[in-house]
């Protein structure tokens, strides 16, 4: 905590965190949600590329892109892409089902994040293996700080 700016950022973050306290997914509920999708399978790191800006001004609209390294042939392709977050009220973000007809394994969308946290993308391959990538993001204005007028 060296500068006034850092201090203000930190207190601001606390204020926002308190504001959206009522229901918040914790890393534990995220793990639970991941297990629901993956089952007992091992999740390996690699193959998946998660594209998310590391510093986010506005938590309401965040460009997210996931791509998976796969030839996308009928024999070897990506079956599903799931994205999870740690601290939104709900751990799920999106679950997409695709197949060899996609040509390239990937998708992009826009998401909301309620707090600075880790976002995880998991890909399910046709051979039954799971691969993941994660990204830490800092959110300065949380999605849930927005008020109705």
């Amino acid at each position: 905590m060296n500068t006034r700016r850092e201090f203000l950022l930190a207190t601001g973050a606390i204020a926002l965190a308190v504001h959206c306290r009522p229901s918040e997914a914790t890393p534990a509920t995220m793990q639970e949600a991941i297990r629901k999708v993956v089952g007992d399978a091992e999740i390996r790191r690699g193959k998946v590329k998660l594209d998310l800006p590391p510093l986010i001004d506005n938590g309401n609209v965040i460009a997210l892109a996931v791509s998976v390294d796969s030839p996308m042939t009928p024999a070897e392709h990506v079956k599903a892409i799931h994205v999870f977050n740690e601290k939104n009220p709900q751990p799920n973000v999106i679950s997409a089902t695709l197949g060899p007809r996609a040509g390239r394994a990937g998708l992009s969308t826009r998401i909301r994040l309620a707090d600075s946290q880790t976002v995880i993308a998991i890909a399910q391959l046709s051979d039954g293996s799971f691969w993941q990538a994660s990204q830490d993001v800092i959110v300065t204005v949380a999605a849930c700080a927005e008020e109705i007028s």
Binding site: R101, R110, I111
Partner: protein
Amino acid sequence: MARAVVTVPPKAKRGEIIEIRTLVGHPMESGFRHDNFGRPIARNIITQFVCTYNGTEIFRADLFPAISANPLLAFTTVATETGTLEFKWTGDNDFALTATAPIAVD
């Protein structure tokens, strides 16, 4: 009535990978917010998106409240034959919206 904008290249070569971008007007009310009186605002989101190519499903997505308002989804497919791409969004409060886009493949 909600409006959808779908971007599909009108022409493609057989076997070419084309990018499809979809955008639909929807508030995606998360269900976790409160109004000025502190009353919770009911959830109203799109829960599912399905894209079919001449009747065959090529992409499907389950959406959650963490998706921004006016959901954008971009993905790819291989241009296999001339025909129609159909896009279907369904969600809370019986929300249903369909859009189509023609594609010519040579």
